[in-house]
Symmetry: C2
Subunit: 235 residues, 2 copies
DNA sequence: TATTATTGTCTCAATATGTGACAATAATAG
DNA sequence: CTATTATTGTCACATATTGAGACAATAATA
């Protein structure tokens, strides 16, 4: 622990899209059943952004993850040493060696967008499991992490039309309907099909490919992908 | 220094509006002529937001300042101990007592919007003077603070139409032209007078008062203020 | 071959924005 | 006292964007 910066942590809200709803990854700590966001610490000579990438890489196996920093949480009332103490004890970690973890932390919040299908989540040393949970049906979390999730979601909504959010939550080829479902899941409201389709096509960021014959009794939809040139927008 | 959190700082970009352009406050350090953003540190048992408010209160004398956190800067290459060393020496501060200041810091960026007329800036122990500088004609700054200013400005622009920015940069009563000038200064572009006026009035957030007779040879403009109920929007 | 569910596109209506015109008016010059 | 000047407030029209529904096309099924 001594080669990490004290008092500084990050928490990550990792969004994935499955079927029709948004999910996030949550850790469950050993023996306590407590759930929390995956987080981590920053090494003495490591960029903050790199620390977060490193942590996500370890947990998702993914290499190039879309990340946005959205807020830094610095309230004193987030400090709950008794909770952290219980977590360390439940994992049989030495309280003297890891005493630093009982200190107050200021935490930088990041959200990540990943392709749900590509991920095999990996728990860390303190946690039993890591799994997907629906954003709109979150179980209770420790360390006021609900607040962090809400702020991440608000930030994602706010950024929705200037960043190419869909690009990161969907596989490389997708139907218009799937894209619309991503938007609806993020905004939490239904959108009008024709208006949405017209708008997306008018932006000129989509490329149309072959149709997808999905065995359903109706007209097959086209597949789309984001144009390579769209990557240049606002990054 | 020992009752402050190590490795954590904040930097503040304090915007004011004078006449027709945006300005920010910059500190000049003793004997070096070096310019930087006003910043500070967080006490062990102090909320991050409170620390920033405290710092701004000391420097501007203002009590209720509009503050937005916009980004946290955590790159290793921001660490320049030799620059800090020179600053401390130039102010005859003990390098052993203030050794903590030579460490790497992760800095949380905040921007503030204040009424230019109401402020009498106060320098701190390390600095000779604190003064207003045009945002679009910044002198060279230490610690890569130009980057912080640019990010603050981008964030302010991005928030312009969902937060009542004008409310904080103008006195309580102002003309439509003054309000437009604030928008133009922030966006860095000219806006069409009639469209702007129509838009602002249609939002229903302005209250119209008596006219201002300013001794000029033309029709006198109405004074406006923000409706009290507008305060409820998005805060 | 008719039916079903969904998709892609079009049309018309309703809003919103761009652009210029014009009258109203507070001070000044004559 | 009157004409001039520099704005300001408002309107009118054109253009662009979005809302809302209609409809033909079509892949699988009955």
């Amino acid at each position: 622990m001594e080669n990490y910066l004290p008092h500084i942590a990050y928490d990550s809200v990792i969004f994935g899209f499955s079927g029709e709803r948004l999910k996030i990854l949550l850790l469950e700590y050993h023996n306590t059943g407590w759930l929390a966001l995956p987080g981590g610490f920053v090494k003495q000579d490591e960029n903050l952004d790199d620390a977060v990438h490193r942590g996500l890489q370890e947990r998702t196996g993914l290499d190039k993850i879309y990340l946005e920093q959205f807020h830094t949480f610095g309230n004193v009332n987030r400090h709950q040493p008794e909770v952290m103490k219980t977590i360390l004890e439940a994992s049989a970690f030495s309280l003297t060696e890891y005493a630093l973890l009982l200190d107050r932390f200021i935490s930088v919040g990041y959200y990540a967008l990943i392709d749900y299908e590509k991920v095999k989540p990996q728990p860390d040393a303190l946690s039993d499991s890591i799994d997907w949970y629906f954003v709109d049906e979150l179980p209770p979390l420790i360390f006021k992490h609900e607040e962090i999730v809400q702020k991440a979601l608000a930030s994602l909504q706010f950024n929705l039309d200037r960043k190419l959010v869909g690009m990161n939550l969907l596989p490389s080829k997708f139907t218009m309907k799937e894209l619309q479902q991503v938007y609806e899941a993020i905004l939490g409201e239904k959108l009008r099909r024709t208006t949405f389709q017209r708008k997306m096509l008018s932006l000129g960021i989509l490329e149309r490919h072959e149709k997808r014959f999905n065995g359903k009794a109706h007209k097959a939809p086209y597949l789309y992908s984001f144009r390579a040139s769209s990557f240049a927008i606002d990054r």
